[in-house]
Structure formats: structure tokens, C-alpha cells
Amino acid sequence: MAYSEKLIDHYENPRNIGSLDKGSDDVGTGLVGAPACGDVMKLQIKVGADGLIEDAKFKTFGCGSAIASSSLVTEWVKGKTIDEAETIKNTDIAKHLALPPVKIHCSVLAEDAIKAAIADYRAKIAKKDEAAE
């Protein structure tokens, strides 16, 4: 099977591998998995005071397409607002990396991971606002 250059580049030189402080109020963590293939993906965002995502990290145990999908998403979300980041669709990821049809589910995992990270961040903010009232 032929993989695109972009996919191979993200797989061989993944961007933003690592972790952010899960306990920090300005960090949202998304942890998702695809049990059918045993993949597990962690994606984290750090949101600045201006509401823009200033950093993003990921750690993925899975196939090359799953690693490339999460690497791409961390690159895409930096500098975006969380509302903008939330609009990322798995089809955009799959198209950009030219994922073969059998690997489309890897991009679904990456979309779910960023959504979960945003949901986690929002829940933290809501809790903080509640405590402040």
C-alpha cells in the first residue's frame, strides 16, 4: 500500500510528542482508544489567557496512521481558539494525509481526542467559574 509523503513525514518526524501537566487549570486532556485495534491516544492542549491554544502535545500507541493523525492535529490546533479547534473534522485529517480507506478510523480517533481535550478544558473552566461565584 502506498502512503502519502505527508503521512510518512508525520510518522517519521512526529510533531509535539510529549505531555503537558494534566492537573493544570489551563490544560485540557483527551484520552481515547479504539479497542478493535488496541490503539490508545492522548492529546493535550494548553490554552493561553487570550483564549488561543498556545501548546499541544500528544502520545499515541498505535499504527503509523494514528500517530500521523494525532501529530497533524497538534500542529493544526496551535494558535487557534478552542471553538475553531473543535471544528476539525476527521475527513479533513484523512484528506490532508491521504489516508487509505482502511485507515480512516485513525483520523476518527484523532478527531475524538481533540474533542475530548476541549471538553476536559471546558469542564475545568466551568468548575473554576462555579468556585469563584
Binding site: 484520552l31 482508544g33 479504539a34 479497542p35 478493535a36 485495534c37 488496541g38 500507541f61 475530548a116
Partner: protein, 175 residues
């Protein structure tokens, strides 16, 4: 016809491995293509369909995890298929931490140690499934099977990691 019925065995998690083999070999003889060479095409076609279904049933029931997953689907437990994601934090955190440990293990001994622990976790989880099936506790069955999938994947990755370390070691000593 379900896999258990095809092999004439009770649909249960505990299965007599000898009885399974015996039923399979009997079925194989019954549907063997050699016995159908002189038969009309529709009978030959039926025999080949039966033989394929028999192989499928045997493969599924022989493997304890595949058998448990199959039995669970018969009981109406829904498991996420290809491309479906889950967000269960306990389960995924455990899987993530285990894979991180494996990534850091750089000797065959360290990998074997992790693999042995996971094997015992698999045994414990498989043993626990019996009670969950008896109680027909579907959410617990689902959770246990998802965890077993990740443990199974870990075992596969541990074997690959072990092979890589051994290869690197032998290249080093050969150089």
C-alpha cells in the same frame, strides 16, 4: 447456526478443549472435499460452505478471548467494532501507562517481566468473566472484554519489542 451449535457444544465460556478438537475433526471428515468429488455441484458447494463455517467456528472457540467476545455478542453485549472509539478513562489510563512502561523497557528481562504480569492479569480477567456471564452483567462483561483486548494487544507488542531487543543485541555482539 452459532459456532457452539455447529460443534455440538454448550454455549458457555468454559469449554472442554478435547471435546472441541474432537468435534472439529469429526466435522472436517464429514465435509471433506474428497468425499464430494463425485457429487452434484450443489452438494459440493454446500460442503465447501460447511467446511469454511466449521473452520471459522473452531478458530473462534479455540482462542479463550475470541470465545469470550463471541459468547458476549451472542448474549447481546455490544462491543465497539472497527473505527469505534471509547473514552473510558480508567481503562485507557491503564493501557497508556503499560505501553509507556514497555517503551522504556530496554532489556529482554524487563520486557519478560512486564509480559508475565500482563499474562497473569489476562488469566485473572478471564477467570472473572465466568461469574459475570453467570450474573449476565452486560456492562461488566463489556468492560472486562475491552480491557482484555488491550491486554492482548500489549502481549503482542511485548513480543515485538522482545524480538527487536534481541535483534539489536545480536547485531551488537556480531559487530
Amino acid at each position: 447456526m452459532d459456532h457452539f451449535a455447529r460443534l455440538g457444544l454448550p454455549a458457555a465460556l468454559d469449554l472442554d478443549s478435547g471435546a472441541l478438537d474432537k468435534a472439529y475433526f469429526a466435522g472436517q471428515r464429514q465435509w471433506h472435499p474428497d468425499r464430494f468429488v463425485a457429487k452434484p455441484p450443489e452438494e459440493r458447494a454446500k460442503a465447501s460452505v460447511e467446511a469454511a463455517a466449521l473452520n471459522d467456528a473452531y478458530r473462534t472457540l479455540k482462542n479463550p478471548l475470541d470465545r469470550a467476545v463471541y459468547l458476549a455478542t451472542l448474549k447481546g453485549v455490544e462491543l465497539p467494532g472497527d473505527g469505534k472509539t471509547i473514552a473510558d478513562p480508567d481503562l485507557l489510563m491503564e493501557a497508556m501507562e503499560a505501553r509507556e512502561e514497555l517503551q522504556e523497557a530496554d532489556t529482554v528481562q524487563a520486557v519478560d517481566g512486564l509480559a508475565a504480569k500482563v499474562r497473569s492479569d489476562v488469566d485473572t480477567a478471564l477467570n472473572g468473566l465466568g461469574g459475570l456471564f453467570l450474573a449476565n452483567d452486560k456492562p461488566a462483561i463489556r468492560k472486562a472484554l475491552l480491557r482484555l483486548r488491550y491486554l492482548d494487544k500489549f502481549a503482542e507488542e511485548a513480543r515485538a519489542r522482545r524480538t527487536n531487543i534481541e535483534r539489536a543485541n545480536s547485531e551488537r555482539s556480531g559487530a
